[in-house]
């Protein structure tokens, strides 16, 4: 418990730094947000008035404190472009990004781990060489290229825009923005199938890099573990290959895998920016990129902040999971 509190405490300065950096970056973007709010044909007086209303004319430290004050109340301001509350927009869009990123991780794990294990069991076989070559290819493909290849290859059979067909969506009438989760919980087969079919291509495109990394790490950590004494002992004691792999080796190999998944969260969130653009996925990443184009300060601020915070929190969890998985890691003594 003390360790947990300590870790939680240690991320506070990081989060504070993140908020400051986001705030400064956003202020430094050239272009006049007041003018954007005012519209194309607005008068100079009107722009001035809007500037005052939104506090763009006040000194930076004051603006930062106001920003932090509002943030602590969960108030992210109002989007300049859509004139909606940013927290509302986040509530609708972030779940879309979370579903996409989680599906990509799931695909990466479900395919990557077995692939890595298979490769490690027969080192230097055709399977090993082939899967490792594929993994290398996987980390070398830009996610948007893969997206277009997928669209060209199977776009006629699988949807590649949006999260759900409008007709299904209206019938389904979701109460949250986690469509897949909600459809599963409500046992709505049609909605679930429809949501999953929309999810497949973008998740596949996004999963290529984590999949490749997971496969490679699984393979090398399995090789390492399989070579260790206790595994050899277990084998010598007559345990079947299968039992050894499942029981001993896999558990130990999980540690580096979990770590990698933590690191890949950053990639997934960044990759989501590009994937969502290719697949018209109504998530946060795409929204933020559009917001940058439109100089929509409140949205950029909130979006980038949200991504960074998510990254920090996920890594906190990874650290905790790591300690849980590996009893050798002593919780109290860090650094």
């Amino acid at each position: 418990m003390r360790y947990l509190l300590g870790r939680l405490f240690s991320i506070l300065p990081v989060l504070l730094g993140v908020s400051l950096l986001v705030f400064l970056l956003v202020r430094a973007i050239p272009g006049d947000p007041a003018r954007n709010i005012a519209g194309e044909r607005a008068s100079a007086e009107l722009i001035e008035q809007i500037r005052a209303e939104h506090g763009f004319d006040r000194p930076l430290p004051v603006q930062y404190l106001t920003f932090m004050g509002r943030l602590s109340r969960g108030d992210f301001g109002t989007s300049i472009q859509s004139r909606q509350s940013v927290s509302g927009e986040i509530a609708r869009r972030f779940p879309a990004t979370i579903e996409l990123a989680l599906s990509a991780i799931l695909l990466a794990t479900l395919i990557g781990v077995p692939l890595g294990i298979a490769a490690s069991l027969r080192p230097n076989s055709f399977l090993d060489a082939g899967s490792m070559a594929a993994a290398l290819l996987g980390v070398s493909v830009p996610v948007f290229c893969l997206g277009y290849v997928l669209i060209l290859a199977v776009g006629d059979y699988l949807p590649y825009a949006g999260r759900m067909d409008e007709a299904v969506l209206r019938e389904f009438a979701p109460r949250t923005s986690f469509y897949v989760l909600e459809a599963a919980l409500r046992l709505n087969g049609r909605a679930l199938f429809n949501a999953l079919s929309h999810l497949l291509l973008p998740a596949l495109a996004l999963s290529s890099v984590p999949l490749a990394v997971v496969a490679r790490i699984t393979r090398s950590s399995m090789l390492e573990v399989l070579g260790q004494d206790y595994v050899r002992t277990a084998k010598a004691k007559g345990l079947s290959q299968r039992a050894v792999v499942l029981k001993h080796a896999l558990r130990n190999a999980l540690i580096p895998i979990v770590t990698v998944l933590g690191i890949q969260t950053g990639y997934l969130l960044g990759g989501a920016v590009l994937t969502e653009t290719v697949f018209s996925w109504p998530g946060m990443g795409w929204f933020v990129v559009q917001a940058i184009g439109e100089r929509d300060y409140p949205v950029i601020q909130a979006g980038v902040l949200l991504f960074a915070t998510t990254f920090v929190l996920v890594n906190l969890f990874v650290d905790l999971a790591y300690s849980k998985l590996d009893p050798r890691v002593q919780l109290g003594v860090t650094k």
């Binding site: 990081v14 920016v273 940058i292 960074a308």
Partner: protein, 298 residues
């Protein structure tokens, strides 16, 4: 050259990944240098009006039915886009941009990251805490998003693109180097140098840094691959260099509306990215196998 170095070099030359990686990169550089004589496409003397007569022509190996005879008479290995650019020539020509941006961006990462990592690891204390906390902050941002923000702030240009991609790579280099310095610092010869009263600068650059080089070389090679990918990503979201510059990500983004009518205009630059990035990744992995003894366990 010591016997040890010769040994390492021999192992490098014999490493399959290194061989393939070097071959790919070298071949690609050669192709890029010979782009104009090879393809007949000259980017600097491009006549937009004649080119438009050859709009969206399929590659020579594609189904070329229904083409007007004068268009059919000309062959384009990778087809043309709707401005009439020969995609193969354009993409080869674009290699110059991708390689230059990649290398210079990594140079920026090294230039900023190495001092930070050295100082942080060697001196420790509050300076270390400050640098590492700042790096934690920066690393919390998805790289592509951070790069997008930096380009937006600095303004769109080729130089700023390199700066953004370079800056985003700094934390990785600094962290890795710091870890190395922490390890090397404990070694006997450094301790000895300190006991002898050598100056910090002399120890840092004379003893510590040379012994941290191997992982940095590996990381720099892999970073080049990442930098090329990130550059393409920025070009793709429209934050690359001036439109018309044959930067691969930019080409893909400008031709995305041709995906159904002229897919080759989107796929050719994509294939180029994959091949070059694959080359650097192979090379980096190979270097790691040979140079970085702790990661060699297999």
């Amino acid at each position: 050259m010591s016997a040890d170095d010769r040994h390492t070099l021999r192992r490098l030359v014999r490493h399959r990944g290194v061989q393939i990686g070097v071959a790919i990169v070298a071949l690609w550089v050669l192709l890029a240098a010979l782009a104009t004589p090879l393809t007949g496409y000259d980017h600097s003397a491009f006549d937009p009006d004649t080119a438009l007569d050859y709009q969206n022509v399929p590659p020579s190996w594609w189904d070329r039915a229904n083409l007007p005879p004068d268009v059919e008479a000309r062959t384009f290995l990778a087809g043309t886009d709707d401005l009439g650019h020969d995609m193969f020539g354009l993409v080869l020509y674009g290699t110059r941009y991708s390689l230059t941006i990649g290398f210079l961006a990594v140079a920026i990462s090294l230039l900023v990251g190495i001092p930070l990592g050295l100082v942080s690891g060697y001196f420790g204390g509050w300076l270390d805490t400050l640098i590492m906390r700042s790096i934690d902050v920066v690393m919390a941002f998805p790289t592509i998003l951070l790069a997008i923000c930096i380009v937006t702030v600095l303004g769109q240009s080729l130089v700023n693109l390199m700066v953004a991609v370079g800056l985003v790579g700094v934390p990785g280099i600094a962290r890795q180097l710091r870890a190395e310095v922490l390890r090397v610092k404990q070694l006997e010869f450094v301790q000895a140098a300190q006991a002898l009263g050598f100056g910090n600068t002399r120890i840092l650059f004379g003893h510590v840094f040379p012994n941290c080089l191997a992982p940095i070389i590996v990381l720099a090679t892999l970073s080049t691959a990442t930098a090329i990918l990130e550059t393409a990503g920025l070009g793709f979201v429209g934050l690359g260099p001036e439109p018309g510059t044959p930067e691969w990500g930019l080409i893909i983004s400008e031709n995305r509306n041709l995906l159904t009518q002229a897919p080759w205009a989107v796929l050719t630059p994509g294939v180029a990215i994959v091949i070059l990035v694959l080359g650097f990744n192979l090379l980096g992995d190979g270097l790691r196998d040979v140079l970085d003894p702790r990661l060699k366990k297999r």
